[in-house]
């Protein structure tokens, strides 16, 4: 039993990502979409918090959203991987529930 969490807000704009990180459980997955993809960047004020979770929680960014915002793959934190919309669909199917952090 595990959860897919979606985060669609920039971690510099709202507290959604931090709240998600504070509530997800080992074995869950987090998918950053829309402005949420900024949470996958290296060298930011939240990078350490994200990196810390990347061991116990699978963390993804939606690549079409990262591309739209000009985020190159080599700027993503280690352990943060890109998926496309098909991958998004698989993540939803592979977890027991989806929780949106709006």
């Amino acid at each position: 039993m595990s959860t897919l969490h979606t985060v669609n807000k920039s971690p510099f704009a709202t507290g959604a990502l931090v709240s998600c990180l504070d509530h997800c459980k080992d074995g869950d997955a987090i998918l950053m979409i829309e402005d949420g993809v900024y949470g996958g960047l290296t060298g930011t004020t939240v990078a350490d918090r994200v990196q810390q979770k990347a061991g116990s929680v699978a963390i993804f960014v939606l690549s079409p959203d990262a591309d739209a915002r000009g985020l190159a793959t080599d700027r993503l934190l280690a352990g943060v991987n890109g998926v496309d919309y098909d991958g998004f669909v698989d993540l939803v199917a592979d977890h027991d529930r989806t929780q949106a952090w709006l």
Binding site: T6, D86, V92, A93, T98
Partner: protein, 130 residues
């Protein structure tokens, strides 16, 4: 697998309706069923047929109407949320004494029970909002 989808924000202003559209297209292409999409909060504004986006932008309402037609997706607009925001079908317009309706083809207005029912009857529920 059966997916239910909730859209909580209006078109163009938030990316929610776009993200949901790409998600639903992919889900159907991968063999999943998306029996219903529920439009709530400002999401009801996706359903207006009066929208005229610039020529070089996507037409969000038309995209949804076409997807619904092609794949039989039930596009349900919450009646309470729609009334507040001025989204009406012909019946509602008549009932409320309004001189025009604005709902687009493929969308239908119904109650919040349809959202709960979707949660009960689908395997996964995915929300796109703000």
């Amino acid at each position: 697998m059966k997916f239910g989808v909730v859209i909580s924000e209006g078109p163009y202003t938030h990316q929610a309706a776009d993200s949901a559209f790409h998600f639903v297209k992919s889900a159907i292409a991968k063999g999943h069923e998306v029996p219903r999409v529920f439009f709530y909060h400002d999401g009801v504004n996706v359903a207006t047929r009066l929208s005229v986006p610039p020529q070089d932008e996507r037409n969000i309402q038309e995209n949804w109407s076409a997807l619904a037609k092609e794949h039989g997706v039930d596009l349900v607009v919450c009646i309470a949320a729609a009334q507040r925001r001025g989204i009406l079908d012909d019946n509602e317009a008549k009932r409320q004494g309004k001189d025009a309706s604005n709902i687009a083809e493929g969308f239908r207005i119904s109650g919040l029970g349809q959202l709960i029912e979707m949660g009960i009857q689908t395997d996964r529920l995915v929300t796109f909002g703000d």
